[in-house]
């Protein structure tokens, strides 16, 4: 059984493999995840170790990315930051995806007033720009890592709700759904056994792209002062704190910026590739 299932995955994998950009994205992403996992091993210094005699050191063999205004090793902070930023991206996105998907599936499956209510609510959320919404939520909850994640999660709900609802509507019309009802399956069985597995593809694509959006959104929150609490080495917060040094000690801004860029780019490449690979219409 397992190997047949793999057969299906193998198809997707084969299509994905053909897409060179997606593979580049995947490899980078795997490296980044490894970095996050082994941050303790890779980072030469603790991320919060302040060394007042080595403040604002340019990159050198001792500090490959240089040090910040506290004399902290930027390389170590970027490495540990991988953990934080991935965490923010993945956790907040998963929460948003889960909630949004459930709402979207309910709206699409049941239709009628449930659909109207849920969709009007997403309309409401969507008529406020994401960043403004996230800031408003973060202000309401107060800053901090968890609250920033909640803010990012909430602002990603409407996208998922919409995507999932649209896919649910197409899947709902398939005969196998009717077949399931005909053999006596209840609503929850239909939604979770029959609809969800079949709309996973757009959810996965949306999620891959969404993680990138979330990382950037969280970084923007940090930039505007509503992100994580020091000394957490979140990339956005590092950028924000270093931005006054951009003119002279630009390396302080360069590395966290590159870290964000590479991570998000990898996610985007992979997401686009997955979209192509998972979309049966694009099969050839």
């Amino acid at each position: 059984m397992a190997n047949k299932k793999n057969g299906q995955l193998r198809d997707i994998w084969r299509r994905l493999k053909r897409n060179r950009l997606a593979m580049v994205g995947l490899v980078i992403l795997i490296l980044i995840v490894l970095v996050a996992i082994f941050a303790d091993v890779i980072a030469p210094y603790p991320y919060d170790l302040q060394n007042y005699s080595d403040v604002k050191q340019w990159p050198s063999s001792k500090y490959i990315f240089g040090t910040d205004n506290f004399g902290r090793d930027i390389f170590s902070r970027v490495i540990y930051g991988t953990r934080v930023s991935l965490q923010i991206g993945f956790i907040s996105l998963s929460v948003g995806a889960l909630v949004g998907s459930i709402f979207g599936a309910i709206a699409g499956y049941f239709g009628g007033w449930v659909d109207t209510v849920i969709m009007r609510f997403t309309d409401i959320l969507m008529s406020i720009p994401k960043i403004v919404l996230a800031i408003a939520i973060a202000s309401t909850l107060g800053p901090g890592l968890v609250n920033a994640m909640i803010a990012v999660a909430i602002s990603s709900i409407p996208n998922f709700a919409r995507v999932v609802r649209a896919s649910t509507l197409t899947v709902k019309d398939q005969e196998y759904i009717e077949a399931a009802i005909a053999i006596g399956a209840g609503n929850s069985r239909v939604i979770f056994r029959h609809i969800f597995p079949n709309i996973l593809a757009p959810i996965i694509v949306q999620a891959t792209l969404g993680v990138g959006v979330s990382i950037i959104l969280a970084a923007s929150l940090s930039f505007l002062g509503l992100g994580v609490e020091p000394p957490t080495p979140e990339w956005g917060a590092m950028l924000s704190a270093a931005r006054t040094y951009i003119r002279d000690e630009w390396y302080m801004v360069l590395f966290p910026g590159l870290a964000i860029m590479i991570t998000v780019l990898a996610l985007n490449l992979l997401g686009d590739g997955l979209r192509d690979a998972l979309d049966p219409k694009l099969k050839n």
């Binding site: 084969r14 299509r15 053909r18 050839n284």
Partner: protein, 323 residues
């Protein structure tokens, strides 16, 4: 091909493969046939037999990648269209040969008026002005039985049968000599199918167009065709005029097809289908591709590919029984 006119279309040893990740799909394997001017040939076969691929090959429209014409030539009026350059190919398509696709619901561009879709062909090929091309389009509409007032309507405002007529109008807009109709009525209801078939029969007669009618329905063939070719796994296994194939059926596969059909005229309680399934086109059996399902299989069938044998004038069979 007796001493009739020189054939309009002559397909010689055509072999087309699709090169995919899952292997090489041998869609069309060494087929040859001729089509005389004004003649209509039915091309019959089950799903995946390679009918559409053959037609696309004749239009030189095989999607590449993954498709590839491996071998053979397609002579239209004596010229090998596979050697045409880009410009010649464009002039050939729509003008000399045109194709009607299977599904009228999707074959029309939803956002252009039907008039425009008909008009652009003649505008492009015959260098007509916009006004002239619309006059021509209106004529074509009337010809296929649609009032020309509807020229500015969009496909979604038409019923399925009408859309198929529009598709026919497009195909005939430049009076092509060769019409390839790929299951033109499969998506339609029986009553509409009858209308459309009647219409097509009239039109090709009127213009003297040669036609290859692709179908999987042995009934449809009898309504309109002069000759029929039966395809199996990328090969034409039996070809001849209607009487030869329908009444002096030779190939075991063709026999099996007829045995599978429930008939209105005689009530049998059980049908007599061919056992088994079409072979996987990426992995065709050696020898005769039909041998695994053949009731008359001989040991030799497993190793030798039968040749096309003319068993009576104009009646060809590819089977070792008749070699």
């Amino acid at each position: 091909m007796n001493d009739k006119d020189k054939p309009l279309l002559s397909v010689r040893n055509l072999t087309i493969h699709y090169i995919t990740d899952n292997g090489v799909v041998k869609a069309v394997n060494d087929i040859s046939f001729d089509l005389a001017k004004g003649e209509t040939m039915g091309l019959v076969g089950e799903t995946g037999a390679g009918k559409t691929t053959t037609a696309l090959g004749i239009m030189n429209l095989i999607p590449n990648p993954p498709g590839k014409i491996i071998n053979g030539e397609i002579l239209v009026d004596g010229k090998n269209i596979l050697e045409f350059n880009k410009y010649q190919t464009r002039k050939y398509r729509g003008n000399v040969a045109s194709m009607i696709f299977q599904d009228p619901m999707t074959a029309l561009n939803p956002i252009l008026t039907v008039g425009e879709q008909i008009a652009e062909v003649s505008r492009y090929h015959n260098k007509l002005s916009k006004a002239e091309s619309y006059v021509k389009a209106a004529e074509m509409l009337e010809l296929v039985g649609i009032p020309s007032e509807r020229i500015n309507e969009y496909p979604h405002q038409f019923s399925g049968g009408m859309k198929q007529r529009v598709v026919i109008a497009i195909a005939l807009a430049c009076n092509p000599q060769l019409l390839l109709a790929d299951e033109p009525t499969t998506a339609l209801d029986v009553t509409i199918q009858a209308q459309v078939l009647a219409l097509m029969g009239d039109l090709i007669k009127k213009y003297g167009t040669s036609m290859v009618l692709i179908t999987h329905d042995l009934g449809v063939v009898t309504e309109i065709c002069d000759r029929v070719a039966i395809m199996y796994a990328g090969q034409i296994v039996e070809t001849g005029d209607l009487e030869a194939v329908y009444e002096h059926t030779k190939h075991p596969y063709t026999k099996g097809l007829f045995g599978s059909l429930p008939r209105i005229s005689d009530k049998t309680s059980r049908l007599n289908p061919i056992d088994g399934l079409m072979p996987d086109p990426t992995n065709l059996p050696n020898g005769c591709p039909f041998h695994p399902r053949c009731p008359d299989k001989m040991p030799e069938c497993e190793s030798r590919v039968p040749a096309n044998t003319e068993i009576e004038p104009g009646h060809f069979v590819r089977c070792l029984l008749y070699e």
